[in-house]
Symmetry: C2
Subunit: 504 residues, 2 copies
């Protein structure tokens, strides 16, 4: 994989000087066009051998292009805010917006390579990390991002010579960190695992470019040309992606019966039972969130449901149990301008709670496969791939001990009608009913099909859906609370076992 980057590529100064002006001009032009169209973000990943010119090349790109449109991000030590959340959170928060270019030093690849080289984990974990990187990049590309992955390479001999010459040069010796010297010892391992990583993550949508780092002219021109060509191609591709869906369409149940039909919509609670059970479950929840094991977890509750199914009421009964300092509620409406300039999961990542905290999403990322699907706000290709992306997302939460609980509050069509009419009559509830609600009601069957598919495809072991019979509000509220309590208890037990096994 690295052979052709060890053969001593070099470019004459004359050739270089003659080529650079036109290249710069074209890069600038592409960059401004990117800004004007603001059609996609550009992500540049910088990896490879220390001393192979990574820093110099990034510096040069900032000189060649307009640095005002480039964000260079380093990911060294995690901050405590980052440590309290899933590992990918730090990358999500730094993603460049559409029309801009983000250069990521010390990205997910450096993290996995460091870990493996220094023996923090074995190949199996490395492969998991590789897999996660692949999925992340695939998703970013599907959302329109243009990703460049550069591996700056040096042979072992070249690297040693390079470090030596840097060290001897007083103007440059500051550039050599202890890490660099360390790498001269771990070179073989680094290259071995680097090969494994590159081999598995070089994909058509985001290939690796291995750059021989010895000759500055060669590596600068090469990187510049790759960037230029990639930018120009992406800028000239047709605006609307053809809605190519390779898979067969979603299976339609032959008997037209879905999981929703299996719900017993007559479930209900008498007032006395309700009040007793509600108080019991609220006290239980309050206790569980104060449990010291909660400090190792976070809790995410997702509320979806038919309009007027009682999401707000259920959320309020939940909130009533808790210290308001411990939870936050994120109501999801139309995305803001900054959110629209990012992949659709970005607006949810930004609200992922820190350890010990609880976030309620009042509507959620499932909008992608519900309202966006039904209303045609995104293409079939987009919502079809969203099931997998969402499962990946929730798996990352689960890996970081974020407990995910998801509710679909279901009411029947007649109950909805009655509630809509009642809302229109009560002054302070008028805000809760809009034209949109009536319009959505006309699409009852389409939404029902979307819900069925959603549950079938995203109710997983790590984040199961709970269907809530919500014709009776009391029943629904108690079921929601009880489900959260059970999820917390079972997560705590799992942690206990895990910690015991690992002697903590």
């Amino acid at each position: 994989m690295f052979e052709s980057a060890e053969i001593g590529h070099a470019i004459d100064k004359e050739v270089y000087d003659a080529e650079v002006p036109a290249l710069r001009e074209a890069l600038l032009e592409a960059q401004f066009e990117l800004r004007e169209k603001a059609a996609f973000p550009v992500i540049v990943l910088i990896n490879g051998i220390e001393g192979a010119g990574k820093g110099e090349t990034v510096k040069l790109l900032n000189e060649w292009m307009d640095p005002r449109l480039i964000e260079v991000r380093t990911f060294d030590q995690q901050t405590d805010e980052e440590l309290a959340r899933p590992p990918a959170w730090r990358y999500w928060r730094m993603l460049p917006a559409k029309g801009r270019m983000g250069v990521f030093f010390g990205n997910w690849y450096s993290q996995m390579l460091q870990g493996r080289v220094h023996g923090e984990f074995k190949d199996a974990r490395l492969d998991q990390a590789i897999n996660a990187a692949e999925r992340l990049e695939k998703m970013l590309c599907d959302e329109g991002a243009l990703i460049f992955k550069f591996w700056f390479h040096l042979s072992k001999k070249q690297m040693k010579a390079r470090l030596k010459s840097l060290q001897d040069d007083p103007l440059h010796s500051w550039r050599i960190s202890p890490l660099d010297w360390q790498q001269s010892k771990t070179y073989d391992k680094f290259v071995k695992y680097g090969e494994r990583v590159l081999r598995r993550t070089s994909r058509d949508y985001a290939p690796w470019h291995v750059i021989e780092g010895v000759d500055p002219h060669y590596r600068s021109l090469t990187v510049g040309r790759i960037l230029l060509e990639g930018l120009q191609n992406a800028l000239n591709r047709p605006a609307a992606k053809p809605a190519t869906v390779n898979a067969a369409p979603l299976p339609v149940s032959v008997d037209q019966i879905s999981l929703l039909d299996s719900l017993d919509m007559t479930q209900h609670l008498e007032k006395d039972d309700y009040e007793e059970q509600l108080i019991t479950e609220q006290a239980r929840l309050a206790g569980l969130l104060r449990d010291k094991r909660m400090r190792k977890h976070a809790l995410v509750a997702v509320f979806e449901g038919n309009d007027a199914a009682g999401k707000g009421g259920a959320i309020r009964r939940l909130a009533a149990a808790l210290d308001p300092r411990q939870y936050s509620i994120v109501p999801i409406a139309a995305p803001t301008e900054e959110e629209r300039a990012q992949p659709y999961l970005w607006r949810f990542w930004r609200h992922i709670p820190a350890r010990g905290k609880f976030t309620v999403f009042d509507r959620s990322w499932y909008g992608r496969v519900l309202v966006e699907r039904v209303e045609g706000f995104c293409s079939p290709g987009d919502w079809l791939r969203a099931y997998g992306e969402i499962n990946d997302f929730e798996e990352q939460l689960d890996d970081a001990r974020v407990i995910v609980v998801k509710f679909w509050l279901a009411i029947d069509k007649q109950t909805q009608l009655e509630r809509f009419q009642a809302r229109e009559e009560i002054p302070f509830k008028r805000f809760k009913i809009t034209e949109d609600d009536w319009r959505n009601r006309d699409k009852w069957d389409a939404y029902r099909a979307a819900v069925g598919d959603m549950v079938d495809r995203t109710s997983t072991e790590v984040a199961a859906w709970t269907l809530v019979e919500a014709n009776d509000k009391r029943w629904a509220r108690v079921k929601v609370l009880r489900t959260i309590n059970r999820a917390l208890e079972s997560a705590f037990e799992k942690s206990d076992k895990h910690d015991k096994k690992h002697g903590k």
Copy 2:
């Protein structure tokens, strides 16, 4: 100040139960109207004696109102990201957007009171903190925010009884933190300094409400009514603030000569001198930013100037000197939707660099007194008060050892014309010239007057303006670099002296 909150206010359960339903309904209605209009944010500050019902009241508000529109924020331990920035940064990042309500526990008042009570500083520093709080709140209110400040009070006797009863109640004993018990010892001090703080910060635009905390019915009803009345008043006030400007208009120089006229616009550098000096200053800058004293500082450079004055080129010469991992460039264009939902300084606060880092603002908060003034995007009242607000802002940066360097790049009208024409002819520079640029040119004199006022009113000891003669780009670029270098050197020397004095 607290006397009338120690007289044993109480409300019967019957009265309470009779009043609450209407109050809740009205609060909900006000809250939804707030969301619909999204005209202003609501900030609720919660302070006072431990055990006086602060937590309970916030919990109740979340039950009475729609918790999805309320954000409860606690400010305990600062995170490392917060510690690396000016103290106010953590509050700015948590401000509620227009249409929403933010409840701040542990806000700026708790911080100053804790510090004073535990003897971390004396009255003089407390007074500085009081002053800063006053300015912050004044600015927020001028920007439209509605601020409620609640002080929950208990007499010493009441407090001791309350803590005792909480402790005896197994369901509640977890609520008492070590801090609470500590407060029973520091009660007298806490109340004494609390009085000082309340006395000085109770203003017409953001008065304190002292609430006797003994009787839950009394305190809940009182808080609820104050909130309701305040919300309703604010929702019903006329949308457009009358542009009342109390001060005399800005003085116009009798001889029509401003600081800009005193610039020698013929300043220039020969190519050889330029290249030598540029390299020297770039190397100096690179060295200074690597200096270990930089770890205690951050650097902010502001670039303003006539269109086509060469801001971009100067910024690129700056960037060329540096490791791209150390700086970031923030180009300021029209604010995004999320930025428009916040006070105008919010979008700059979010980019304030952490210690050790360098941020370049390509255009800045001075837009308020330049383009917004000249184009009439804000009222005279708004931009007139901005001078003081900006000085406060920069003083906070300076206090946190953020070095602020500000450049006005000045060219004359003829030079601008030539550059506009040249830009229209060069393909990759066409992006840089728009209709707007030609329109702005027509307002040359108005901009010139605005620049004069800006420099007169915001060139301060903590953040001076540097006027740059930019007809000659070489001269301008070297002057910019040299000015930044001098600012860094002088800041480092000041730190050295300060540290030596304090034996560090």
